[in-house]
Symmetry: C2
Subunit: 725 residues, 2 copies
């Protein structure tokens, strides 16, 4: 599992210089694929020698299931050609209204007229953990609300339902026209803030300006926002994540990675006329199946210099940091049962991120894959070079991006550590409070982007969330962070001196946790409402720490935004222009956490010469059961064994092109029925961040038959079954 994508989770805790701004959701441009010799793009036929130097024209989708398509450009004809059936506009409209977005980085689907939403267990596990207490461990035991009254509000949750998309490209481009690279980002940020504010007419409306095609297009996504979301059902962690970390991103699998939550409005279940029904049969071999969800980010048009940065600097550094935290949390969890429970959610995210980055890394150090990216870039640059007008505009873009990457190598540590690190809950709260004091009094369009008016509801929800904060875990994370800071930046670095003075990382971390009052929501409210004056007067040691290093952090952020991000963004737009010139807009944009539809079919793959069958059965779970974590089925499953049909399909793989953020997406058939629930991809799917490989890129789903059978026979969840049937 864990193709989740959360801006607060590890996978996306650092943003790549490649294509992502500090605020989240950004885009690069459409993904080329293996060249198809017989179908040159129109512009390229005339100068084959110059523009297609190697094995014929490139940058064309191969005849396979590649693509995370926007609904307005969905290639229905193509799907029909490949799979014998293509969706109508009505089909597309209905599916798009039934798919929802979990704000912190998952997908979901509406499955009843009363706001019931299906998603993955791992998409709600943070809520499940927050609702747990000593002796009431819903992660271990699972949770099932037998009545509406037992549906528990998730402390820190938001689900958004898309209500409209508007093209705002010309307005955004107008604002940055003629801007030098160093001002490009600031100007773009400002116009986006204005547009988003105009759109967000109430707290129940969420508006995001999204970059598509690497800056070729800007769209305004408008959502109905639900912040009252309540937990209805979650299975035991041991069932949801059977096989644990060793089986994660692998197949065969036997995971019941599902949960149900409900949308509330005005303290009542929301009315949701548009909703999916389930297919008891599931996917049939050969028929087309579709995934509607919110893939968070792909970077399929990164330049080679950007890919080298990701390969040589970004991923290895992240993997080291994550590995160290993994080791620490495993040991931390051995202190006692409570520490194990506290560590488990974080550990789970970290192990998932380690696998996710490892998969991406493996694609980048795959010489064949990397050579393909190098060749694609060569071809596109040759195409530009062969068209003088284009060359004049975009010719230097690749070099400019490469120079920015070189500069980023110099400051990435300072940027990553001082400004862009995932540290701990308290650290994050303290920084948000310190900066809110400075930012909110400024005009909307001059603030750091996360303080735009349109972003304030989300900010407030986070600031005043009753989610529990654990002192021991905070101390561990703060110490680890301060140790890392000192080691990576050096004892003599002024920011390090300002942070630590004569203290040790362990000593300071302990003092911060002991002294801070930020666990108290009232204290946070007072600091937020008191603004800059309250912050300046505060004697809270964590507030004081964040104030001491805020100048350093802002300075490196500014350097990054002005001299690196802006350059990459502006020149990325130019690369996108070259791409449009060569191939038109007939393909899909990179994933940007917006609603997409991918298509495919049930299909296994070959792993080291051996075929991997596409489906497992419920009986297999009992065979794999050892009685010990992570292969220990929960008691409910063991008790229900005789009632279950061993041959009921459990998990399956298909060729749909997905990525992190698609967790919880419904898999639907041509009747628009749910045949499965996406919860993972195989290890090869992770390289999908940079390109789709039809041979072995597979997504992993929970089969609809297993959902229906286990809800009934294992969980006796008659209330849910009655509602979804």
């Amino acid at each position: 599992m864990r193709i989740l994508a959360s801006s607060s989770a590890w996978v996306f805790a650092f943003v790549s210089v490649a294509a992502v701004a500090c605020g989240g959701n950004e885009a690069s441009a459409p993904p080329p694929q293996a060249p198809a010799p017989n179908t040159a793009p129109p512009d390229m036929g005339s100068k084959p020698a110059a523009v297609a130097p190697a094995s014929g024209p490139a940058l064309r989708l191969a005849d396979n299931d590649e693509g995370m398509w926007t609904f307005d450009r969905f290639p229905a004809e193509r799907v029909k050609k490949l799979h014998g059936w293509g969706p109508s506009k009505e089909w597309l409209d209905q599916v798009s209204q039934r798919a929802v977005k979990l704000a912190f980085g998952c997908s979901g689907s509406i499955v009843s007229p009363n706001g019931l939403v299906m998603t993955n267990h791992h998409c709600v596990s943070e809520c499940v953990s927050q609702l747990s207490k000593k002796g009431r461990d819903y992660i271990a035991q699972g949770y099932y609300a037998k009545s509406e009254a037992e549906e528990l509000k998730c402390p820190d949750f938001e689900i958004d339902q898309l209500s409209g998309v508007t093209d705002v490209t010309s307005r955004v481009e107008e604002a940055t026209k003629g801007a030098p690279e160093s001002e490009f980002h600031a100007k773009q940020r400002a116009v986006k803030a204005v547009i988003e504010k105009e759109c967000a007419t109430s707290d129940a409306v969420r508006c995001d300006v999204v970059t598509l095609y690497n800056g070729g297009q800007y769209h305004l996504y408008k959502y109905h926002r639900f912040q009252d979301v309540r937990l209805v059902f979650a299975p035991e962690f041991a069932a949801a994540f059977f096989g644990g970390d060793p089986d994660n991103f692998n197949f065969p699998r036997y995971d019941f990675d599902i949960s149900y939550v409900r949308l509330y409005e005005g303290n009542k279940p929301a009315k949701t006329e548009q909703h999916f029904r389930y297919s008891a049969a599931g996917p049939k071999e050969g028929e087309p199946i579709f995934v509607a969800g919110h893939p968070y980010k792909t970077e399929r048009l990164l330049t080679v210099a950007q890919l080298e940065y990701v390969r040589d600097v970004e991923i290895p550094e992240k993997l080291m940091r994550l590995s160290e935290l993994r080791g620490a949390l495993i040991e931390f969890g051995k202190r006692n049962a409570e520490s194990k429970r506290i560590a488990s959610t974080e550990l789970f995210d970290i192990e998932n991120a380690i696998k996710a980055y490892t998969g991406r890394y493996q694609s980048l150090v795959d010489k064949e894959f990397f050579a393909r990216k190098v060749n694609e870039e060569k071809r596109l640059r040759a195409y530009a070079a062969a068209h003088p007008d284009l060359e004049k505009t975009v010719g230097d873009a690749w070099n400019a991006i490469a120079r920015a990457q070189e500069q980023y190598r110099d400051i990435h540590l300072a940027h990553g550590i001082l400004e862009n690190a995932h540290v701990s809950s308290l650290f994050k709260l303290a920084r948000a409070l310190v900066r809110a004091g400075d930012e909110i009094p400024k005009p909307n369009d001059q603030r750091l982007s996360e303080f735009n008016d349109a972003k304030l509801p989300a900010l407030k929800e986070e600031l005043f969330s009753p989610a529990p904060i654990y002192d021991d875990l905070e101390a561990l994370e703060l110490e680890s962070y301060l140790t890392w800071m000192r080691a990576a930046l050096g004892t003599d670095e002024p920011a390090v001196q300002r942070a630590l003075a004569k203290e040790t990382p362990a000593g300071l971390a302990a003092a911060l946790v002991r002294g801070t009052k930020l666990k108290d929501i009232k204290v946070r409210k007072a600091l937020f409402e008191g603004g800059k004056a309250a912050i300046e007067k505060s004697t809270d040691p964590l507030i004081q720490l964040l104030r001491r290093i805020d100048g350093d952090a802002r300075a490196v952020r500014k350097t990054y935004e002005d001299t690196i991000f802006g350059v990459v963004r502006k020149n990325g737009e130019l690369v996108a222009k070259a791409h449009f010139a060569a191939y038109g807009q007939t393909t899909y944009p990179d994933a940007t956490a917006t609603l997409r539809l991918s298509f495919g079919e049930l299909k296994g793959w070959e792993e080291r010469g051996k075929p991997v069958p596409p489906m497992t059965m419920i009986g297999g779970a009992f065979e794999r059961h050892t009685g010990k974590e992570p292969y220990a089925l929960p008691k409910r499953w063991l008790d229900a064994k005789s009632k279950l049909t061993a041959t009921t399909p459990f998990n399956f793989v298909s060729t749909n092109d997905i990525i992190g953020g698609n967790s919880g997406s419904p898999m639907v058939n041509k009747e628009g029925e749910i045949v499965g629930l996406i919860f993972d991809g195989n290890i090869h799917s992770l390289g999908g961040a940079f390109g789709y490989n039809a041979a072995n890129n597979r997504c992993v789903s929970l089969h609809s038959a297993a959902i229906l059978e286990a809800l009934d026979k294992v969980y006796g969840a008659s209330r849910i079954l009655a509602e979804i049937k």
Copy 2:
């Protein structure tokens, strides 16, 4: 500090496919440097267009202090030209007799007629830790033997003094002549075993056949072996490693990283007529200074394909593994004071290894550095291509090595985990016992190389060492290893199934530690002496585990040795031949843990545009003192502050070309006096594994004036001072 190189320590726990066999000490070929336009190698002048395609002839030492020279080819004339003075043969002979090798990967020097040896604290810290017990923590308190009777035997130590070097190239080459690649390694291993056995006429003689110039030469190194080595003096860890991990591999530094041990023979101090004296003045600016020591390994003639493997696979994987263990050990150390003490030595090695690998990695992802390596290879291949006879013999060698690297990518995980991992003390003992039972009955030349007759004394010392073993640490390390094995190889892998069956990594690790009797030396002796029959009958769970996976481990080792290592070795010899043809043997071989001499001068460098001065003073340590680890000077130093001269030089940097294994090397002046003690290199020196960069590669030494002053005024070590003066 920590330019230590230990075959049992983390830095060298995995061997690179590049140039190292399972037995240790191996070599590649001489290191090119920045091209010097006016001095083309003789063969290259005639065909400049073909053989020197880019910026003129390459592969020539620049006019700088590069080189870890063997004493028989030391470039005295060159040093004279650069530094105004070059050593005579007498000078070289004397220095070579006074330098010793610490068998597990450090260097040392004889400094009295009674066997007194100076080395680093971090080279004896394992012994210091082993001699410590609860309430008697010599790591924290330091140790000083006020009389001979108080000199404590290190449980597990060996120091070797070189007694002769013989060229055995023709004999080795004869044995592998005409052998196919798949048999190359086995045949070479066999002839080396025969040669070493002939030479090792008693347990007091150690003999190693060493590969030089990547297989261009094979030399037999014969040593006088001392296994009775006793601790005389060690300072407090806090003084030796002042600045700790954050300052490690950085400068300015203030470390008193020194220790003294004594060689014993027949239970009496050994007589050592040849010994160094100290210079009270230390190094003067502009005068040449020399490092005599045992650099463990450089790989300056790796092919580009090998460097890519190291960059893309080997180092990132190691850094992840080490980082995870680092996190675990830091948390483990928080259980209580004893666990902190137990974890500290291992943690120290791990943090050191992380920095060491990080430094190397940084050089490989430095685009300029990597491009230099690519160009050097292009030039050498062009040179070969321009000489038909040479091309016929060596033309395919680079491709063959590249193919082997590709194959290694497929099996490196299985090889690294099943055969080649650093796991834990008990695991290592169990494997050695299991294999000894199989190997020792075989003819000497057919055994796995570490069981050759010539290696048995070292094996026995390790097997029967009284070094303490800590259950909790063993459990942590075994669990971590088993978890890694399952995650990396997959739950369904037969070797993983054989190792774990239905157990969890944590459960099996706990059961192994609970059940094994291998902590008892008598039990180990009985199993060793009882041979295969005793091993087969043993119910010890750790012996049984190692037996269960031994077939898998041996199989992957054989695949590696036959299809990868042998290919790399054989073709590496061919690359060396091309190198000799182009440049002769006028340069130095890669480091191979044999005695070398490097030259240089006191000199700072520029770091991000700012000059780093070459020397610190004792007063600076007191300024850096915060009272908290790792910046807490021990009480003895604080008490002595008023007696110390603040302006006495403390640590200094110089241009000498060194690498891991040089830890503890004496730095000597032209009078042959000790002016310093090597204990570290700066971060840039770590890339020295692949090439020397004169601009910023620096080694770090403890100044002789600080040694003499602190022994007197801080430690009152009058017995040592009397002996060395």
